[in-house]
Structures are given as C-alpha cells and as structure tokens.
Amino acid sequence: MSEEGLTNDEIGEADVEQASVEDIETLQQALAEQKKGAEKYLANWQRAQADLANYKKHVGQEKQEILDFGNSTLILSLLPVIDDFERAFKSLPSELAEVNWIEGIKIIYNNLKAALKKAGVTEIEAKGERFDPHLHEATMSQVGEEGVVLEEIQKGYRLKDRVLRPSLVVVGRGKEEIEEESHGESSRD
C-alpha cells in the first residue's frame, strides 16, 4: 500500500462518512415524513371506521323507529275519521238511536277503533285531569278549577309511548275573572 493510496483511501472514507451522514439525515427526514403520513392515514382510517360504525348504529335506530312509528302518518290521517264517527253519534237523533242499521254502523266504528288499538294506539285521558302540555293542547281557557281540563274538544291519542296527537282541551283559569267567559281568550298567531 503506497502513501498516496492510503491518502486516497482516507479521503474516500471521509467522503463515505460524509455521504452516509447526509444519507442518514435524508432517510431520517423521509422516515419522519412517512411516520407523520402514516399517523394521519391511521387517524383518518379510524375516523372513517368510527363514522361507519355510528352510521350503522343510526340506521339500526331508524329502522326500529320505522318499525315502531312508520305507520304514524297513516294513523294520523285516520284519526279525523274516528272523530267524524264520534261527532255523528254524538248528534244522533233519538228516533234513530234504536234503529238496528245504526247499530251496525256503530260496530263498524268499534272495529276501526279495535284495529287502531291493535296497532298500539291508545286514547289520552283529558277531561277532569290536570292540564299537562305533554299530553294536552290548550285551545282556550274558561272560568273553572284552575289548571284542570274542563272540556275535551278533540280526543288525543298515543301511539305506543309517544303522543301522536295531543288532546285539544279547554282549561280552567280559576274564578277571579269578571269579564264575559263563554268564548275564552282569542287565539294568538
């Protein structure tokens, strides 16, 4: 081995060292970038997975909701028909009351109510109860026991545990009033 050669070797080694330091730095930087990228992807992936899991949960909830209450629109549109039947019977002339044919219509009405009951529809108690805005909607107030439902104007219904249509009621407002009471207060809009 000559002197020159040795020197060359030394220079070469230094170069190599220099180069590998640079390489390592570049690699470390690249690695750091990759790590950062990987973390981001993992986070996004996890988020996507979580989104999907939550979405599935909601779809499940909504399916249950549809099963339980999907027919509520139909039922709501049938309730006025029940109201009409009841109005008709309420004003039934006494001479018709005993007619057998009318009896048949009453059975039809009862069958309709029974079908709704089977679907989970129940009547809300109103008259004589304490006024409860969770169940009743006040349409006017009149002299009478304060906070008590004096009269039911339209029957309210529940579908399972949910109020499908609140009862429309007249609520007592005590006895202190002096003005004319028959029409109660006018509605606001």
């Binding site: 949960k57 008709a88 349409t139 339209q154």
Partner: protein
C-alpha cells in the same frame, strides 16, 4: 372528533342538522318532529318548557310564554320595530339598563339571548341523544339583514347554551350551500325564502367558495299562514252563502277548518283539485250540517294572487339595490315551504325569466346548509377524503354468455367482492375468466376488460369444483381480478388498469345503450336462463337415472330417457318455446320418479342437488350463482 351541528334558529320554528356519511341530515327532536317551535315558557308550577310542549300551553299561560324572540334579539328597547312588536306580543317586554330588551317570564327578567339559549339548548340535548355523543361545536344562521349587534347576541345565545359557536352565517348563504352553489364560479344568485310567517329575498355573489350578500329585502309579516287564512275565509264565506251559518263563531269548527285549509293548500301543490270534507261541522234546528267543497288550484291561485305578487316588490327592490336586472341573475333558489306552490314558481319564472332551482327540501335548506358549513369548518382540521365510484358494472361471463355482475355501478371504491362459481360440465379441466364492464346483461354486448385461464381443475362432476372469483378495486380505480380453485388452492390473477379509461361520454353512451336495449336484453337473458335450466334438468335427470335406476320401473325409465332426448334436441334448435315445453314434460315425468322412489323404503330424493350445490332451475340460493361456459 365530536360532530359539529348546523342550526336554523328561526322566528317561529328551529331545526338542527348534522353531516352524516358526507350528507347533511336533519336531526329529529325528542318529540319525533324535524321542526321545533321557537317557544319557551315557565309553567304555573315553575317547570321550564321548550318547543312543542311550550306552544301547547301558550293559550292558558300567555304571560309566561315567550315566542318570536328573534324579533327582539340584539335590538334596543326604543327601536321602532320593537315598539311595533310590543303591541302584538302578549308577554311583557321591558328595557334593560343598557337599553336592550328584556322579556318577563315566570316573574323573572330574561334577555332575548337567554330565551334563544333555551331553544338552542333543547336542540343540543336532542342532537346529543340522537348522535350518542357530546355536541359542542355549532354553526348558527341569522337573516342576512341582521346587524353586528344582532349577530353578536345570537352568538352569545349559543355560548349560553353551551355551544362553541364556530361561525354565524347568513340564512341565504346556508341555503346556497345546501343547493351546492359553492361549487359554482362567479355567479349571482337570488335566494327566495317564502316561509310560514316571513318573506326574505337575498341577492348573493358567489366566487371561489365565498359568498357575498349584495342586497336583501323582504316582508317580515308575509307568509304561507296568510294563504291558509285566505282559504279559511273563503270556506267560511261559501258555507255561509249555502247554509246561512257563520262558522267563525264556532271555535271547534274553526280548528277543523284551519287543519283542512292547510291540508288542501299542500295537496294543491301536486294535484289540480281537492275535496274538503268536514261532516258534522255544525248543527242548527234542522239537524247536522256537513261541509263538502271542492277547491281547485285555479281558485287557490286567485285567492292568494295578491299575496304572492307582494313578494315581487321586494325582489325588484333587492335587484335595484344590487344594481342588477332580473336577467343578470344566474340562479334562483327556493327556500321555505310555500315555494312548493306552483304559482309561486310560475311567478318567479316569469320575473327572472329562468327556471328556479329545486331539489332540496325547502323547509330544511337553511339547517342543512348550516350543517354543511359546520362540516367544512371541522373538515379544515383533517383532510377531506374524496371517494369515487365505479361508473359501470363489473362482472364475468358465465354459462350461455350471460354477464354476471360482481360489482354494480355506482359502488363507492375502494371495494372488493368475492363469489363462488363452478364448472359447467363434468371433468371440466379449466375455466376462463372473462372480465366484463357494462350494463347490458349479455357478455357479447359488454366491454371486455381482460381474460385469463385457470386450469388444473381436478376431474369432478359439474357444479362440484368451487372457484372463488374476487374483484378488488383500489382507490385509484385499478381492478384486480383473481380466481382460486378452493380444492387445489391454485390461483390466477389479472390486473386491469384501464378499467376507468373510459371518457365520460363513453360511460354515458354505455349507460344509455343499456336503457334502450333493456327489453330485448331481458328477453335474451331469459332465453339463456331457460336454456341453462333445461340443460341442468336434463343433466339431473340423467344422473338420477344412473343412481336410482334400479328403483325406477323400466317403462318410466324409457319415458324419461325419451324426454331427456327431446330436451337435448330442443336445445340444439332455436325455438325457445320447444325448449320450454320439453322441460315441462321432463319435469312432470321426473315427478313420477319422485313418487316411485319415495314410495320405496330407503329411497333418496331424486333429482336432488348434486354435491357442491348446483343451482336448480330458476333457483336463487346456494353458493353457485353462475357457471363458467365450457372451454
């Protein structure tokens, strides 16, 4: 990361929405409705009520029921509009030391911000119940004409409710977002918002995802409720003419009329005539009275013409403020339930000389847009991932030249799908996987993406080898198709990079072709299916004769053999009805075999499924959903 919600805090109704699976969605309230009345009350027993429940008791508790607080928020007590509203609102409004408004509820003074906060809080609780997690971040909308103090007050209401208010945005901006207008460049749009109680028109400039309100106008006391009132008045007048009875004196009748009027109005948006039937509406000495009327769309338009016309004045003013003519508006978008009325759309079409944009539920547009904005603001933290879909169906060719789909079109990618196939004939040594793209049911009409062979299948009866074919598309649209013999483990695959190499025009052409040829394609496919089923039945019959031959009387055996021959020869021909008839005869004869074999002890069901679960004629179950054609 917690979700951010978008809130439409309205004068009479409020709504909350959230981004779910990339789409905005209204969150239903605890009462099961999408809309929450903007009403707050303290009951006589001191209970605090919000929304529907508060509204139901308003009549009996008018002093302590606060509604329309949006008309007061951020305004001074001496403001002319506040002075105007004081006369109309039944609850007590006072002046705060700093000149702001205060409302009195349950003997206590509240700022309008606190009342709004109670509404927002209810929306928050309902949203948390729906999402199953804490919700803190929100975008809240305000009318475009709100000034700084009204915006700040609305923001404060959000903070009081426990929200971190990401941003207060304009209602018309939110609507534009819901309509996807942010993707437009350099457009001027008009947002026409005709709701239940108020009317707003806004002119917006859109550029590079930014929205600028150029002008706004409206009528704070014009809405769909006015139209309902017109219908009610008309019904009452008509009834009075016919029956001489004034229904306006009968509260019960009025309640029914109100519901009927609203229902009729809604129906007349889709039909041209509707019936209003209210039996036993009232009674006099002569007996019960029924109300039966027909309301036509033309009559409704006549009744409401001046109300709709009243919305055009503000439109004209807004345009003139923006120094624009109707023709300079690029898009007109519809917000508010009343814009469903055809007459409203006609009026706008005439005024702006262009078709108004529809497609978003006009009752929900503001809240949906707020949710989109909330999503964008949250999205800035992470990166928005754009997901693509496959534009055309991908599948393979199976017996009889049928294109059997594996991945239907519009499937979001990346995705993968595996399906088990089998051989079409006994001892078939190899299968060809012919990868197809397109909407037509036959392979010949589809585009070939590639094909390869999987060989080395061990000799076995047809239908027995299980070949698992897997389609996998990565996020870049690169399709990998592999086929694996589950028995030997032997596998072949192909990578198709050109699967998305079709231009948009080509894709549309292929979709169009599928539509135009749908009927004849269905017929051809059915014929192929009939042929496959016939072939299958003949095969099964032969097999039964082979395996159960000793149990079948010679006479019947001969009959069946004859009928198998008829099926086979019909299959050679082109007459599909001949095939059908031959199949019917053969299957009837096979039923006799069933009766004979079952009649004997230890008999096996004839014509049963061959090992591996061969698909029966027309059957849809079992692992084999298709067969490869013989190669």
């Amino acid at each position: 990361m917690a979700k951010a919600v978008g809130i439409d805090l309205g004068t009479t109704l409020s709504e909350v929405a959230v981004m779910e699976g990339g789409e905005p969605k209204i969150i239903p309230s605890a009462e099961g409705s999408n809309l929450v009345p903007s009403v707050v009350a303290v009951s006589k027993t001191g209970e605090r009520l919000v929304g529907e429940i508060a509204k139901r008791q308003a009549i009996v508790n008018p002093d302590n029921t606060i509604f329309s607080v949006k008309r007061l928020i951020g305004r001074k007590f001496n403001d002319a509009s506040v002075q105007y509203d004081i006369k109309r609102l039944p609850y007590k409004i006072t002046a705060a030391p700093n000149g702001d408004c205060r409302v009195v509820m349950g003997g206590k003074e509240y700022s309008p911000q606190e009342i709004s906060a109670l509404i927002l809080q209810k929306l928050k609780v309902d949203a948390e119940a729906y999402l199953g997690e804490k919700v803190t971040d929100a975008v809240i909308t305000v009318p475009a004409y709100f000034n700084d103090s009204q915006r700040q007050a609305t923001k404060d209401a959000g903070t009081i409710a426990g929200f971190n208010v990401l941003r207060i945005i304009n209602e018309p901006t939110a609507s534009s977002l819901a309509y996807g207008m942010d993707k437009k460049k350099d457009e001027t749009i008009a947002v026409y918002d005709f709701g239940g109680g108020t009317f707003d028109i806004s002119i917006l400039d859109i550029g590079e995802g930014t929205f600028q309100v150029k002008s706004t106008n409206g009528d704070t006391h014009l809405g769909g409720d006015d139209i309902d009132q017109r219908i009610m008045d008309w019904i009452c007048d008509e009834f009075k003419k016919e029956q001489g009875i004034d229904l306006k004196q009968d509260r019960m009748a009025l309640q029914r009329l109100k519901d009927a009027a609203e229902k009729a109005k809604k129906e007349l948006s889709t039909v041209v005539q509707t019936e209003i039937n209210l039996p036993f509406i009232t009674a006099d000495a002569s007996g019960p009275k029924h109300l039966t009327m027909t309301l036509s769309r033309a009559k409704l338009e006549q009744l409401s013409a001046d109300l709709i016309e009243r919305s055009i004045g503000p439109c004209r003013q807004a345009l003139s403020d923006a120094k624009l003519t109707p023709a300079q508006i690029n898009n007109v978008i519809l917000v508010g339930g009343q814009t469903r009325m055809p007459k409203v759309q006609d009026t706008l079409r005439q005024f702006f000389s262009r078709e108004p944009v529809k497609g978003v539920n006009p009752d929900e547009a503001v809240a949906l847009g707020a949710a989109i904005q909330a999503g964008v603001l949250k999205g800035e933290v992470g990166e928005i991932l754009l997901l693509d879909v496959t534009p055309l169906t991908l599948g393979i060719e199976t017996l009889g030249g049928v294109a059997t789909p594996l991945i239907p079109r519009n499937t979001t990618i990346p995705t993968s799908k595996s399906q088990i196939f089998s051989t079409a004939s006994d001892s078939q040594p190899s299968v060809e996987i012919h990868v197809l793209q397109g909407e037509r049911p036959m392979a010949a009409d589809s585009r070939t993406l590639g094909r390869f062979m999987l060989d080395g299948i061990l000799p076995a009866p047809r239908g027995m080898p299980q070949i698992e074919v897997t389609f996998d598309i990565d996020a870049n649209g690169i399709l990998n198709v592999s086929a694996r013999d589950k028995g030997t483990g032997k596998e072949q695959k192909i990578t198709i990079t050109a699967s998305s190499g079709l231009s948009k025009g080509e894709v549309e052409k292929m979709q169009r072709e599928a539509e135009t040829h749908a009927a004849e394609d269905a017929k051809r496919k059915e014929e192929t299916e009939t042929r496959n089923a016939a072939d299958n039945l003949a095969y099964t019959a032969e097999k039964t004769l082979r395996e159960q031959g000793d149990k079948i009387p010679g006479e019947l055996k001969q009959e069946i053999e004859g009928k198998i021959a008829t099926v086979r020869s019909a299959l050679q021909g082109k007459d599909i009805n001949a095939v059908r008839n031959a199949v019917q005869e053969l299957s009837q004869a096979m039923q006799k075999v069933g009766a004979t074999v079952y009649g004997q002890p230890g008999g096996q069901p004839p014509g049963g499924q061959p090992p591996g679960g061969q698909q029966g004629p027309g059957g849809e179950e079992g692992p084999v959903e298709g067969e490869f054609r013989e190669v």
